[in-house]
Amino acid sequence: MKKNIPLVKLNNSGVLREKKWLVKGISLEIYREQIVTLIGPNGSGKTTTAKIILKIIEPNEGKVELNTKKIAYVPQKINIDWAIPLRVIDFMNITSKLNVSSIMDNLKLTGVDHLLYKDLINLSGGEFQRVMIARAIAKRPELLILDEPVQGVDFNGEIKLYNLIKNISNNLKCGILLISHDIHFVMSSTDHVLCLNGHVCCSGTPQDVAKNPSYIELFGEQAASSIALYKHNHDHTHNQDGSIKT
């Protein structure tokens, strides 16, 4: 596929529910090797926008142009009923057919290979997110959509996960749509930020958006000054248990 064709293109899309527009006039494009971040307050339609792209929700106006079939999705939350005995190894294969060694390889990428035979319901929030991301990248997608991937993850875990996402984009050459309500933490590696509040408030590079008056109005001065601040380098990394790696 040529690089100048977007993986997905939304043109003026809107979703109407119970006589109310959940989102309206959303236009966006995601290209290969690009990371697009959606930010916005709760209920601003970030997840709805993702679901339009994923064709889970049919938009009431506008259209979706999807130019890839290799899509992987990390939803915001999955509640696994106790009645379903589901180990990590079973979960990794719910939409794909992988052998154990390739499952292990992908779990290693997100640092949770030791959980292979653990029950999914016994995992911590952070472990569960890592398993979800491992499952998604195991599909070798061209378009990866991550809905709040760092929720339930502690601060250091967050940094690692964001680095991981950046690596995924570099290694898999896929387009990534990242949803975050954590405005203080939009990555420096994000190529394009869309700020949503039922509609596209403003968009552009993280630096551009931070300076935009409507962004400042929505999130306040402090948020504006802290956007894309995450540029510092660590002089050390941690093991899973928190000790410093030597």
Binding site: K51, I71, Y73, I84, I94, T95
Partner: protein, 260 residues
Amino acid sequence: MRALIAGIGMAIVAGPLGCFVIWRRLAYFGDTLAHSGLLGVTLGFVLNIDLSFSVFVISGIIALLLLVLQKKTKLAGDSLLGLLAHSSLAIGLVIIAILTTIRFDLMGLLLGDILSVSMNDILIIWIGGGILLLVLFFIWKSLFAATISYDLAKAEKMSPEISNYIFTILLAGIIAISIKMIGVLLITGLLLIPPAMSRNFSNSPTKMVIFSIIGGTFSVILGLYCSLYLNTPSGPSIIVAAMMLFILSLFFKKGLNIVN
């Protein structure tokens, strides 16, 4: 002997389907379809067509009606299920009362009757059941993904809505083939109890399905044996046996926890 062959066939089909009923929290849904089965039986008598077939058609219609009503009304799911379950059961009972000319074994329909199992019924159970399992096998992956997360399955092109519809029809199918053996009132028990037991010592979906089949088969053998020697109705006997296995499994689970 005929009853045993029919019963074992029934348990083998009920195991995997029952697992999905538990996983998807469809216990009451299964009950509704089973209740509508009585209406199916009476209509089968009125129109003089095969009973399994008429039960399958009526349960299927009720299931689809439910899916439509869920979108049209704002009534809560369980109320809607109760409405359909008891309406169809009541209509069935009213028709039975009107049909005084036909000799009707109502208790047999409600509680199951092994003596009524014919060679024809065995064929229906094994061939019909075989088809149900084959279809389930083909939609397994998609249905399981949809059970874990509809959105995920939809996003990753597993066509969850189609497998959801097909599964509903499969449920109507198992009810149709087992209504004679176990009766309208207790079919859901056969669907639910063996998988509930099986969950206590399974750590993967496949194991849970296998143990449900084994548990269901044991319940049928034990239940029919009692039914024969104690002259009790077959349906309740099978369910009591299943329940006892479930209680045993709780102790087994406790033992497992202590060992760990």
